[in-house]
């Protein structure tokens, strides 16, 4: 196995509050290998978002380290739990933001953005404003925005939470495809066991707050994973393991 591109050691996070601090994460350690797809499962409030924010460099942990193999933080694509679009920008302009920030050519940016729009199935909405989108559509814009600059590390915080079942499953397939074709590393928070089994190489289960890793499950289901796979005995066994760990 190649050396990890990201090592997380003894992360502990305490948020200041009135009674001695709210402990969100406790002693979380794991490695992320290149091109690995890791899902993080855990009850609400177990610190999943906090963990992603620390990896993204948006939050300093109270103690512990996050180390990237290449010293420098890799290019990150992040999908937040809420779509987090800029209401004054159209769909196309929102999607192009990461390229703009990098100072990429305008023509190329437009072309890429249109590809992304096609990918998330929002053709015809290029010039719509966020206020005119449904929650699921807004989330798809956010996904397109996270992918457009070809990031090395994708940090996804329940990206498919607000999508209907059909779109969600299409997005699973697309995400698997992108992940395999573009060799990305993915760290994804989810509430759904089947989602994590459909996508991940490894599933980390966090405990109730303060979150700590309760299970690190290797998902050895063959790829590409198809819908029928859900009805296999092995899938059922893994799902039950995860279910028991969460409860």
């Amino acid at each position: 196995m190649p050396p990890p591109i990201l090592t997380i050691r003894n992360l502990t996070t305490v948020f200041p509050d009135e009674n001695g601090g709210l402990r969100a994460l406790r002693d979380v350690s794991f490695d992320v290998h290149p091109r690995e797809f890791i899902c993080v499962l855990g009850p609400s409030g177990s610190g999943k978002t906090t963990l992603l924010r620390i990896v993204a460099g948006l939050l300093q942990p109270t103690s512990g380290q996050v180390t990237f193999a290449r010293k420098q933080q890799p290019r990150i694509g992040m999908v937040f739990q809420q779509a987090n679009l800029m209401p004054w920008r159209t769909v196309l302009q929102n999607i192009m933001l990461p390229l703009e920030i990098r100072g990429d050519g305008d023509h190329d940016a437009h072309k890429k953005a249109r590809e992304m729009i096609e990918l998330v199935g929002l053709q015809g909405f290029e010039n719509s404003l966020p206020r005119d989108l449904s929650g699921g559509m807004a989330q798809r814009v956010a996904i397109a925005r996270a992918l457009i600059h070809d990031p090395d590390l994708l940090l996804l915080d329940e990206p498919f939470g607000s999508l209907d079942a059909l779109t969600r499953e299409r997005m699973w397939t697309e995400l698997s495809r992108i992940w395999q074709a573009r060799q990305k590393t993915v760290l994804m928070v989810t509430h759904s066991i089947s989602e994590s089994l459909f996508l991940a190489d490894r599933v980390l289960v966090l405990t109730q707050r303060p979150g700590t890793i309760k299970m690190d499950l290797n998902v050895d289901l063959p790829r590409p994973r198809r819908d029928e796979m859900r009805y296999t005995a092995h899938f059922g066994k893994l799902a039950r393991k995860l279910k028991e760990a969460i409860e």
């Binding site: 924010r53 993204a56 460099g57 948006l58 933080q73 990150i76 992040m78 937040f80 809420q82 987090n84 800029m86 209401p87 004054w88 920008r89 933001l97 990461p98 703009e100 920030i101 990098r102 404003l129 206020r131 600059h149 940090l155």
Partner: protein
């Protein structure tokens, strides 16, 4: 001239415009008619309450000898320079205050205290210090504009969603990019609200300065009219001021309509 409605321009079709302007037009007409009838039959002398027709005649005369244009231009210059100075300082300081709690702690008592002093009270001082020329009026105007713009800048910048900062930081955006791509557009609605108030107040600022001491400007015209019992002249000056205030207000409203199209229609 003085029937400019304080409503957004440029939006909607011809029918909309008619619908919007017609009531204002009709009520203005009714007001002028009532005023005319009142002055005609009440026996109040012209130097106390001039009839609309004599105000109109005075207006034409002031236009033809060029005095109205000249004094309006002076006042407008004071207003625009005062607005520019006041808005610039307020925006810069407001941004810094919004970003630094420490600076806010140090400065806010002074800022609040300064608001307890009516500008009218310090206007004479400013005229003594800065002379009776245009400078003192510009400064008075800037002072009166300053506070609402400052407050709205602070509120606007503070209200920028934290999640958008996260987004920008996850993309390694620079400070300048965060400023121009997030902070400016996100705080614009509240900022423009402050500018709208400031624009209206700026007219008051310039006039207060001119009333203290001035050789030119609409405030000067107003005072001369007053001294000479040329009451129609006073009315002409007042109506011109109203028109200026409405035009400035309308300008900011038009900016809001143009720049804030993305907001939810309300």
């Amino acid at each position: 001239m003085f029937c400019l409605p304080p409503s957004p321009f440029g939006r909607g079709n011809q029918k909309d415009m008619t619908k919007r302007f017609l009531p204002v037009f009709l009520s203005t007409l009714a007001f002028l008619f009532g005023w005319h009838v009142f002055t005609r039959y009440s026996g109040i002398p012209n130097f106390i309450l001039p009839s609309p027709l004599s105000v109109w005649a005075r207006f034409l005369k002031a236009i033809s000898d060029g005095s109205l244009q000249y004094h309006t231009w002076i006042t407008l210059t004071e207003i625009l320079l005062g607005l520019l100075a006041g808005v610039t300082f307020a925006t810069v300081l407001g941004y810094l205050l919004a970003k630094s709690r420490a600076l806010e702690k140090v400065l806010s008592p002074y800022l609040v205290a300064s608001q307890a002093i009516p500008v009218i009270a310090i206007a004479p001082l400013l005229v003594i210090w800065l002379g009776d020329g245009i400078l003192s009026k510009v400064v008075i105007c800037a002072l009166i504009v300053f506070f609402p713009v400052l407050v709205n800048t602070v509120v606007g910048v503070r209200a920028v969603p934290a999640a958008l900062y996260d987004l920008m930081r996850s993309l390694h955006a620079s400070r300048a990019q965060i400023l121009w791509k997030v902070e400016v557009p996100a705080s614009l609605p509240v900022f423009l609200g402050g500018l709208r108030i400031g624009a209206t107040l700026s007219v008051i600022g310039a006039i207060v300065g001119e009333l203290v001491d001035a050789e030119e400007g609409l405030g000067f015209l107003l005072q001369v009219g007053d001294f000479q019992y040329d009451t129609p002249m006073v009315f002409v000056a007042v109506f011109t001021l109203i028109a200026l205030a409405l035009a400035l207000y309308g300008f900011v409203r038009a900016l809001e309509v143009r720049l804030l199209k993305w907001q939810d229609k309300t």
